[in-house]
């Protein structure tokens, strides 16, 4: 794996000057992913969303590599087509380079409307890395809830009111769903762990098959925090075990970061306006439920790590 020094010498495939919000985690993710990928020619497919609209406003583009967008729900399908074209054109000799394919989708474009297209592409075993930059809501259209929005969070379509206390359902665990596709590499990470992200990207790109990485992305607008705290929030999500960092390689689980001491979830909630209402005494029950879910999931993950690595499994 290339170290930071080596990575920093690679060409920047996502340049500055894009129009993501100050402190946006999506730009950090895209830049680090592209840095990790830049040792080979790489073609990018992007779903509609903040990353797409903010980096390619015609006639400008922040991308210094071939980049493609066609719609919201089909990034994995378009990338399937590009990868199929690559195979065909390599066969007929029109392409001789070794090219890698990366798809970027937001949580809406990945967990919800693009879920079928992602599932299909993974099952068909196209060699592509799918990166979900997961800010846990439809940010581009104004912070509407998605199936990645966590329990209790405010979103503009799961608002807080006299009777409702933000999102009433727990989020979908898409990383688990991707593991269930039996693809060779699935990873979960967060902004604030550049080394983990770039290592995961390199591993994924070396894998001959479909790979998926789910990256938790603090969104300063939708989460409501001081723009300087983007990485702080990513780290707190991991330190509270709200968003564990792990990977599943050929079915074997590895937790990449194990907090010495699991911080209480309130440490994470209290920095974000989307959870502000949960700190009121009458909503203590919701916080307790969130904490319970975290504890159970963390225990489950440790168990999976242990059993999946047992000899003979």
């Amino acid at each position: 794996m290339a170290n930071l020094k080596e990575l920093s010498k690679r060409p920047e495939l996502l340049s500055g000057g894009h129009r993501l919000c100050a402190g946006c985690g999506a730009g950090i993710i895209a830049r680090q992913v592209m840095m990790a990928a830049a040792d080979k020619p790489v073609v990018v497919a992007n779903a509609t969303g903040c990353l797409e609209v903010s980096t390619t406003i015609y006639p400008f583009s922040a991308w210094k590599t071939s980049w493609f967008h066609s719609a919201f729900e089909n990034a994995a399908a378009s990338c399937s087509g590009m990868e199929a074209a690559y195979k065909a054109l390599k066969r007929t000799g029109k392409v001789d380079k070794d090219i890698r394919f990366i798809t970027f989708g937001g949580d809406g474009g990945t967990y919800d409307i693009g879920f079928q297209s992602l599932s299909g592409a993974m099952e068909r075993r196209h060699r592509m890395l799918y990166v979900c930059y997961n800010n846990e809501a439809y940010m581009n259209t104004g912070i509407q809830r998605s199936s990645a929005t966590p329990l209790g969070a405010y979103a503009s379509t799961s608002p807080v009111g006299k009777v409702k206390k933000g999102k009433e359902q727990i989020k979908k665990d898409l990383t688990k769903v991707m593991v269930a596709h039996n693809i060779p590499y699935v990873g979960q990470t967060a902004v604030g762990y550049w080394n983990d992200l770039t290592t995961k990207v390199q591993k994924a790109l070396e894998t001959d098959g479909p790979t998926f990485i789910n990256v938790l992305q603090p969104c300063r607008l939708g989460w409501g925090y001081n723009p300087a705290d983007t990485a702080v929030l990513g780290r707190l999500a991991v330190e509270t075990c709200f968003w564990p960092i792990y990977e599943v390689v050929d079915g074997k689980y590895k937790i990449n970061v194990k907090p010495k001491e699991k911080k209480p979830i309130t440490e994470y909630l209290k920095l974000q306006t989307r959870f502000k209402h949960l700190l009121r005494p009458e909503n203590a029950g919701i916080v307790a439920e969130i904490q319970k879910n975290i504890d159970e999931n963390w225990a489950w993950l440790q168990m999976m790590e242990e059993c999946s690595n047992k000899a003979g499994v």
Partner: protein, 392 residues
């Protein structure tokens, strides 16, 4: 015209699949739906037998089928798919995008009624729903036309003045599942005719990276759309040239429209697709009784051949336009609406009658078409659309 050779018995679906085999596209991404399923099945057998170099992507929906074709085409590949009805409807969103991104994808389309109620038989409501998508639309009268049009469509779409996608349609079951003798061209001649796809910019040309599909706001969108509209306009000339070249090389010429016994006709009907074949039988029969009748078949509905239609119908007294789709209380259904507005330019305007027929695959018979001609000749037409062969 050279002697007929290499006659093969083929259904419409087989004919289209054979054309695809000979075109040998780089990528085919498709999903099954009656009546187009066979095209995909037959083609995947060609792939399994190593008869084509194509990368076949068995996608999980038609939306993904066209999305994958769009990705493939943008990447630099010649891409094709096939579908019908609900499948095409699921593609609608991506059809506008394929056209807007100027990607020359060809869809082998078998016309089938749209749900609800669910029905698997032929009418043209599926492609009519996409008539403003930026796709070229070619409607075929029989398997031979379907075969020939698929081959021409590749050249037309990839022409630098056009760069737009196309649907090549046959009527569900009537053509798709009906066995006919068609003349197939030798593989080598098709290969030579279609040539290879050489896009100017393609995403896999990684030494020249570029961005495709950027957000295009008030300051540029209109210009890009204006170019697309212009490409559609220019396609008319290209379709005519390629139809002529095809005729010179292989003995079967094609144009935007086909006329049948219109020269001295007093009454004419306008049709799309297989009904033209039935109408020809009626015309021959009624002409024996001295009736001056003829027909205009619209082969290419997009771009709309308004000049040709106006020229062909300028001396006709009464025109009956037959739609296999309804416009749901638009003034008249789509084909009639277009024909009517292009004839409006004439000083001596023919009378126009509108007929909707064959929804959900309802038969259109020789008797029904005879009745339409009789009504047109009687001078007793009015402006209300008539529904043919339906229990009111």
């Amino acid at each position: 015209m050279p002697e007929k050779k290499n006659l093969k018995a083929k259904t419409g679906n087989e004919a289209m699949a054979e054309a695809m085999r000979q075109i040998n596209p780089d990528v085919v991404a498709a999903y099954p739906i009656t009546p187009a399923t066979e095209i995909v099945q037959i083609f995947s057998q060609f792939v399994a037998d190593g008869l084509v170099n194509t990368e076949f992507v068995a996608v999980e929906s038609e939306h993904s089928a066209l999305s994958a074709c769009i990705g493939a085409s943008a990447a630099g590949a010649r891409a094709m798919t096939g579908t019908s009805s609900q499948g095409l409807a699921l593609m609608y969103e991506m059809m506008y995008i394929a056209a807007g991104l100027r990607l020359p994808i060809v869809i082998a389309e078998v016309n089938r009624a749209l749900s609800a109620p669910i029905n698997i038989h032929g009418d043209q409501s599926d492609t009519m729903g996409a008539r403003d998508s930026g796709f070229l639309q070619i409607y075929c009268e029989n398997s031979q036309e379907a075969y020939d049009s698929m081959i021409q469509a590749v050249r037309i779409c990839e022409h630098p003045d056009v760069l737009l996608p196309a649907t090549v349609s046959t009527d569900g079951f009537i053509i798709s599942h009906c066995m006919e003798a068609i003349e197939m061209l030798p593989d080598e001649q098709v290969k030579e005719f279609v040539g290879s796809y050489k896009p100017k910019n393609w995403l896999l040309d990684v030494d020249h990276p570029f961005t495709l599909g950027a957000i295009d706001l008030q300051d540029y969108y209109f210009e890009h759309k204006r170019q697309e509209i212009e490409a559609m306009r220019k396609a008319t000339k290209v379709i005519k040239e390629i139809g002529k070249e095809f005729g010179q090389k292989f003995g079967r010429s094609y144009d935007m429209i086909e006329t049948y016994k219109l020269e001295d006709a007093e009454a004419a009907i306008v049709v799309l697709g297989s009904t033209a074949g039935t109408a020809k039988v009626v015309i021959d029969e009624m002409r024996k009784q001295g009736k001056k009748i003829g027909m205009l078949k619209i082969r290419v509905f997009r771009p709309f051949p308004f000049d040709d239609i106006r020229e062909a119908l300028k001396n006709v007294k009464v025109v009956g336009v037959m739609d296999r789709h309804d416009g749901y209380n638009g003034y008249v259904p789509p084909v009639c609406s277009e024909v009517r507005s292009c004839l409006y330019e004439l000083d001596k305007k023919p009378k126009i009658a509108s007929y909707v027929y064959g929804l959900g695959g309802r038969d259109i018979t020789v008797e029904m078409i005879t009745d339409i001609y009789q009504e047109l000749l009687s001078g007793k037409t009015d402006t209300n659309t008539k529904y043919i062969g339906v229990r009111e």
